[in-house]
């Protein structure tokens, strides 16, 4: 089993949508997948999965108020494998609470996260995908340290690439973690043109392997929160690229 954190230096790079679609694609390919929302300050998976019934959130588990089994929600919409999601609490009170946690709480959260991932390993899960907040925030760092690899999502512009550089140098290299790069929202007319842009980004970023280059597709914005691309529009080029990633990610891990 591999645990993979999905991270970026700046916000809005497309981590959460990617995490959800990739989790769904992997489960459709018959893998047993866990998707963990570790962005306690801006929980998103709850909305991407259309506000499901959730008894306990990851917040409760990290607070010591719920057991690991109680926070796992099984998503049953036609996937061949298994898709288990652990949601972060989207209520404003929970977000406020997460904002004022201290270092001692974060230390314990790391320990609990490591424990949770261990449990999934024991339950023969194939892959755990962790959605994280951007930049070197506590929950992101905890997820990265607890994982085996990171997917670094970046836009192809100069500021984003600089940010990615900083993460590679100041964070990922310290934990000696495997880094796979996704260049997202590439403005281009063709995938070939996008690939060229993506490759120029990788050349600037030593120490990361290019996993995929994803063009900017307006439909991804238009349907966000309404439709899940890989489930509802499997023939869309975005979905096809996500399936491509789901098939080839194993050779990188």
């Amino acid at each position: 089993m591999k645990a993979v954190a999905i991270h970026s230096q700046r916000g809005g790079s497309g981590k959460s949508v990617l995490a959800a679609n990739l989790a769904y694609a992997l489960a459709s390919l018959n893998y047993k997948v866990v998707l963990l929302d570790c962005d306690l300050r801006a929980p998103t998976q709850y909305y991407i999965f259309n506000e499901p019934k959730v008894k306990h959130f990851i917040n409760d588990y990290l607070n010591g108020e719920a057991e690991d089994d109680d926070v796992i929600v099984r998503i049953d919409d036609g996937v061949k494998g298994k898709l288990l999601v652990v949601f972060a609490n989207p209520s404003i009170d929970a977000i406020k609470e997460a904002l004022v946690k201290d270092r001692r709480w974060e230390m314990n959260a790391l320990k609990k996260l490591i424990g949770l991932i261990k449990k999934f390993r024991h339950d023969s899960v194939d892959i755990v995908l962790i959605d994280t907040p951007p930049g070197p925030q506590y929950s992101a760092l905890n997820a990265i340290v607890a994982s085996d690899a990171t997917i670094l999502v970046t836009l192809p512009d100069k500021i984003e690439v600089r940010g990615a550089e900083v993460l590679l140098r100041e964070i990922y290299s310290l934990v000696e973690i495997k880094v796979m790069l996704i260049v997202n929202k590439v403005p281009s007319k063709s995938h070939e043109e996008a690939l060229r842009l993506g490759e120029s980004v990788v050349r600037k970023l030593g120490g990361a392997e290019l996993l995929e280059v994803i063009p900017y597709y307006p439909e991804v914005v238009l349907y966000n929160g309404d439709k899940m691309m890989v489930r509802d529009l499997p023939e869309h080029p975005y979905s096809k690229l996500i399936f491509e990633i789901a098939r080839k990610i194993w050779t990188y891990l």
């Binding site: 270092r103 001692r104 230390m107 314990n108 320990k111 490591i114 340290v145 964070i171 310290l174």
Partner: protein
């Protein structure tokens, strides 16, 4: 044919000997390293960790380079493990991990506890969060 087999067996045992000796050398070097004063930055971090009693992810990221991998491995193993467990996890020699773990103990990041014939290295904060409350 037989000859070449023998030679390869000899070579393997020779390599094993060399390996053992290298482990020994690394162990001795590590003992030496322990006596070299730490950099100012890591001393400040250690003091901070000891003062606050907090070993969080920021602490893990700021320990001296050569010890970080060992401490993170120990955390991932649940905060309690033998040098052998850690070596299995990091893929480095047991002697190396043992030296690093002892250094971490000297610095105050971890404590050592003997259980029967085995010595366990423990990140105390990882085991006592709720009990301490």
């Amino acid at each position: 044919m037989r000859d070449s087999k023998n030679t390869s067996a000899d070579a393997t045992s020779l390599l094993n000997d060399v390996n053992k000796k290298l482990d020994k050398i690394i162990e001795l070097l590590e003992k030496l390293v322990q006596r070299v004063p730490q950099t100012l930055r890591s001393v400040a971090d250690v003091e901070d960790a000891l003062r606050t009693g907090i070993i969080d992810v920021v602490t893990l990221l700021s320990v001296p380079d050569h010890l970080r991998k060992t401490l993170i491995a120990l955390a991932k193993l649940g905060g309690e493990a033998t040098s052998e467990d850690v070596a299995k996890y990091t893929g480095r020699a047991r002697a190396v991990e043992s030296a690093y773990l002892n250094q971490l103990a000297t610095l105050g990041y971890v404590i050592k506890r003997r259980k029967g014939r085995k010595v366990y290295f423990i990140i105390p904060q990882f085991e006592s969060y709720y009990e301490g409350e």
